[in-house]
């Protein structure tokens, strides 16, 4: 690459707002491998504008999902934008039963995921900050000695990019990166908040089996994580298992006594189990806890529905249990 006049270069650098990144070897943790190449990662040369489906197919296929860029295009491509949006890539991964785990914005987690054998989908801005050229590629490795990132990118099966250069394009792309996990699989370095949020995404997408497996794994790893228990409760409720749902919501309330969602959901389970007096007591608590929160309207709605229920004829199915104050 030819160097222009220094003044032009300085101007251009200012325009691009480029971040100075250190060479890879400087930032690599002591225990990290000096080089990795996940050479078995499949390659799909992209068609016009279809780097989203191609990159997504690459990481899903590497994880055993039966997809191709052609089958994914109708799930993620937006003709009017000539591209694909980040959240839709996450959504499509869910549709194929995978948990899209969004990585931290530091390079450490990119390296850790590669070390675990998972190729990483990254968003790059190959243009400038003000003049973006958005591009999805798949990071399949790096070589610290040669200071390069290794990518499946566009029509290039094996693209070597100078590490600083890759880091700068990733930085300009907002440092967005994710891997596709099998439900129940949790990386050793995983962050509890991001993992449970990803599991909640599976739940929202109606992938109940996958979400339940992810919550179970999260609870095994982080037994005190309230939202993982809330998720377990919701999956039990969806399965019609009121006892398991009530137990899980109860655990949330013990771990996080001010959690309005768990109170509201517990009240709903109690109503379904014909324990109307206790349900009404719990929903009042939920309404009080939700005051001023985004859940206030939803919980008020639940309160009105529970309030309007007729007195049950059969006995409460969850009798002789302890309920929180």
């Amino acid at each position: 690459m030819t160097r222009g006049a220094p003044a032009v270069a300085a101007l251009a650098a200012a325009l691009a707002g480029c971040a100075a990144s250190p060479p890879l070897a400087n930032g690599l943790a002591g225990h990290a491998p000096r080089s990795i190449e996940l050479s078995a990662t499949p390659f799909y040369p992209q068609e016009d504008y279809h780097c989203g489906p191609a990159a997504l197919a690459t990481i899903l296929r590497a994880n055993g999902a039966n997809v191709t860029p052609e089958t994914l295009a109708p799930e993620v491509f937006i003709p009017g934008r000539r591209g694909s949006l980040q959240v839709e890539l996450l959504g499509a991964a869910r549709r194929h039963g995978r948990l899209p785990y969004v990585l931290a914005t530091t390079a450490d987690e990119l390296v850790a995921e590669l070390a675990d054998g998972r190729p990483v989908l990254v968003l790059q801005n190959l243009g400038a900050a003000r003049l973006p050229v958005w591009h999805y590629a798949v990071l399949i490795g790096y070589d610290a000695e040669r200071n390069v990132a290794l990518l499946r990118s566009g029509r290039e099966q094996r693209l070597e990019m100078r590490w600083q250069h890759f880091a700068a394009t990733w930085h300009r792309g907002g440092r967005f990166a994710f891997t596709a996990l099998r439900p129940g699989e949790i990386p050793a370095h995983a962050d509890v908040t991001r993992y449970v949020e990803a599991a909640a995404g599976l739940e929202a997408a109606g992938q109940r089996r996958a979400a339940a497996a992810a919550y179970d794994a999260a609870i095994a790893r982080w037994p005190d994580e309230a939202h993982a228990w809330l998720g377990r409760g919701n999956m039990a409720y969806a399965d019609g298992d009121l006892v398991a749902a009530a137990d899980a919501y109860l655990r949330v309330i013990l771990l996080s006594p001010t959690d309005a969602a768990a109170r509201g959901n517990l009240a709903q389970v109690l109503a379904d189990a014909r324990c109307l007096a206790e349900s009404r007591r719990q929903i009042e608590r939920a309404v009080a806890l939700a005051a001023g929160s985004p859940l206030a309207a939803t919980i008020e709605d639940m309160r009105q529905k529970i309030g309007a229920l007729p007195e049950p004829e059969a006995a409460c199915a969850l009798g002789n249990r302890y309920w929180p104050d």
Binding site: A13, Y49, R81, L126, G201, T298
Partner: protein, 127 residues
């Protein structure tokens, strides 16, 4: 009055369609979803309440407008959380759309050539 009658009919129609949309919502009936609960506990959000049904309608219309096949839209919407739907409703036209590095034209091309030449960016050589 005729206008008043028309107005009432419109209100009734809109209400009816909103009710039927509520019934179609794929979210689990009865309990609060985990992603909704997580979003609520996260402080500092400017928007206090997410109207999921409204966001869904909005994104549905925008995807159709942007050329997405009608048959594919519902499945795509169903794969997203309420927070994601809201984000799309707000930013579907601006959010980064990863596409193709080769599809650059005109003045953009010229400026990028200069940046490329000076070594600031690198799109033509290596993608």
């Amino acid at each position: 009055m005729r206008i008043e009658r028309f107005r009432r009919a419109c209100v009734a129609l809109v209400s009816l369609s909103l009710v039927s949309l509520g019934l179609q919502a794929p979210a689990m009936a009865g309990v609060i979803g985990t992603s909704e609960a997580i979003a609520a506990t996260r402080g500092g959000e400017t928007r206090d309440t997410i109207d999921a049904a409204l966001a869904r309608d909005d994104v549905r219309a925008k995807l159709a407008e942007l050329g997405v096949d009608a048959a594919a839209i519902e499945g795509r919407l169903a794969a997203l959380s309420e927070t994601e739907l809201q984000m799309l409703a707000d930013q579907i036209e601006q959010a980064p759309a990863g596409g193709d590095a080769l599809a650059v034209i005109g003045i953009v091309f010229l400026v990028l050539m200069i940046l490329e030449f000076t070594g600031v960016i690198d799109i033509f050589k290596k993608t």
